[in-house]
Amino acid sequence: MMTNLAAGRAADRIMDMAADTAAEAQEMLAITDLKTHFFTQKGVVPAVDGVSIRIPEKQVMGIVGESGCGKSVTAMSILQLVSRPGRIVGGSIMLDGEELVGKSVKEMRNIRGNKVSVIFQEPMTSLNPVYTVGRQVSEAITVHRQVGKQEARQQVVEMFKAVGIPEAERRFNSFPHQLSGGLRQRVMIAMAMVCQPKLMIADEPTTALDVTIEAQILHLMRRLEEKSNTSIMLITHNMGVVAEICDFVYVMYAGKVMEQAPVFELFDHTKHPYTKGLLNSIPKPTEEKQRLYNIKGMVPNLLRLPKGCRFSPRCEYAMPECREREPELYDCGKNHKVRCFLYQKDQGGGADE
């Protein structure tokens, strides 16, 4: 069952894509220098502080990072659904060549669920308990497409089948509480996919699920991504999930991207101390039972970001320079960029570690 061959194929495919970076036109999503801040009573929280993300067509792009790093806020910024004291204060979000920042509420409504859709972590609470799941999914169609009720139902049932919901016809009339967690998440995915969006944002879609169900859902997402033209933005804090299905990975820390690279590149040639820390913290199967590596300290409070590199207080390699000014994203070649002074020298070059 284990097919290293298959893994190799996937790797090839990703390598190909990485080579193709020049194809700017094919970019489904281009976020440039996005800044989303929360204006709270205690001060301004720069939850997303100059993030640039690019997602080519038909790719699964992962964002990882510890809790509170701004992953979800980035995602919600794309849909412009950042909640109350939060506001996009700068940057641009181009979806398929269309600028989203500054769009009117009405225009955004036409994009949500239509061109960009989203699934959340908790499939139970993300579905309205008082309506049947069928109704909730068909709503996503009827709001964007001129279709009749009957036709919408038809499409929903098909979508249900496509996401592997057994007895799709019957499930159409089920209420969320009558479904199991895995089925609910499938319904959410059906809802996200039913308008064939250009981009699907999945914010920790499997965190609340058991491993066996998680595997099913990840597989399903991969398959959907391959079959349709939808790009996926997968938010997670699980390196395993990243390794499992992502093509390209962004590592975020305290509102900034720390490292970005194609998945194989990232795991094979991990550069940023933070990323290294994250990977090393995971207990390795091979390891003898010694102490685990861990990043000391914790994510800083965004209200009081340290001077210089925001990771410097926790960084083993921190240099005096790190406490002085913020590093930029340095390009290390192979589509690999790192925000760390250690790689300043690599700027423009294609050197390995």
């Binding site: 205690k42 102490r291 861990n294 000391k296 300290g297 914790m298 800083p300 409070n301 209200l303 207080p313």
Partner: protein, 312 residues
């Protein structure tokens, strides 16, 4: 009672690297470290209406307490020459049908309202809290009995039950006390029971059980303090209600008994003069409205402020 089982540790026993975060990282100021009192204070600073209400309540309570010093008149002294005198310098709110200074009576009436607002409510809430705690914590038969009792009480319209009780006890302030206390415990008991039930499932309670902490300690030390926000909110609900209920009972003639007075009774007594001497009936009505409204505004503010605590 030194226990030899306990290993005495010293610094050498500390594991080498615990990944102890640098002290600066734990920044208490920036974490959510507001206590309940802080939140209420902040709310009062922000919410002008609530702050004003608070001031009004304090002033009215003071006025009630110091009534004899605030007026040269006695509340029950009639003076036929001053019958229905209109407001003037000597009589700020004029005099009633028997020439008694209306303002003075209003002040003394405040005492009744303040007392009714505070005492029976507190007594009822203490009873309700204890019963609710027991019902929620022990469950089973105790719960069944207490809750059915609460059902019974809640099935009566509260005003009606208060009427019946205060009627049985032949009217008067004391019977209103008892009547209101008899009625109001039930809601508190329900809320506290529900809260206790949810607290009981909380892991910190289970932790206490696993430590072998006694049941009574768990109830009163772990669960009760966590019901505090609910209790405060209930208090802000119950006080104005009690004041209104007393006013209604007095208005119906089974509350405060003449010659002592209360706002409700004053409205009732001055009602006949509404047309020619409207201020007489309006003043106590306004007093009730302002007092109750102030409690409600303050209560709303407090509820908003305590909102995060209420969801546990």
């Amino acid at each position: 009672m030194q226990n030899s089982d306990i290993l005495i540790l010293n610094d050498q026993n500390l594991p080498p690297d615990l990944g102890l975060p640098p002290a600066e990282d734990i920044d208490a100021e920036l974490l959510d470290n507001e206590t309940m009192g802080d939140r209420i204070k902040t709310m009062l600073r922000k919410n002008k209406l609530a702050a004003a209400s608070f001031v009004v309540i304090v002033l009215m309570c003071l006025a009630a307490a110091f009534a004899p010093f605030l007026t040269p008149y006695e509340p029950n002294k009639t003076s036929l020459k001053d019958r229905l005198a209109p407001p003037s310098r000597e009589h700020i709110l004029g005099c009633d049908e028997l020439g008694r200074d209306h303002f003075t009576r209003l002040l003394y009436g405040t005492r009744v309202s303040v007392m009714i607002g505070l005492f029976p409510t507190s007594v009822a809430m203490i009873i309700g809290t204890v019963l609710g705690l027991f019902a929620g914590f022990y469950g089973g038969k105790i719960d069944f009995v207490i809750m059915r009792l609460a059902d019974v009480v809640l099935a009566f319209p509260s005003l009606l039950l208060a009427m019946v009780v205060s009627y049985t006890l032949k009217g008067g302030i004391i019977s209103i006390f008892l009547a209101l206390a008899a009625v109001k415990w039930a809601r508190t008991a329900r809320v506290i029971r529900a809260q206790t039930l949810s607290m009981k499932e909380k892991e910190f309670v289970e932790a206490a059980r696993s430590l072998g902490v006694k049941k009574s300690t768990i109830m009163f030390r772990h669960i009760l303090p966590n019901c505090l926000p609910n209790l405060i909110v209930l208090l802000t609900l119950n006080i104005p209600e009690s004041i209104l209920d007393e006013a209604s009972l007095s208005f119906l003639g089974i509350g405060a008994q003449p010659p002592s007075t209360s706002w409700g009774l004053m409205v009732f007594r001055c009602k006949p003069f509404l047309f020619e001497y409207p201020w007489l009936a309006i003043a106590p009505g306004v007093a009730i409205l302002v007092f109750v409204l102030a409690f409600n505004f303050l209560g709303d503010g407090v509820r908003d402020a305590l909102d995060p605590y209420l969801k546990d």
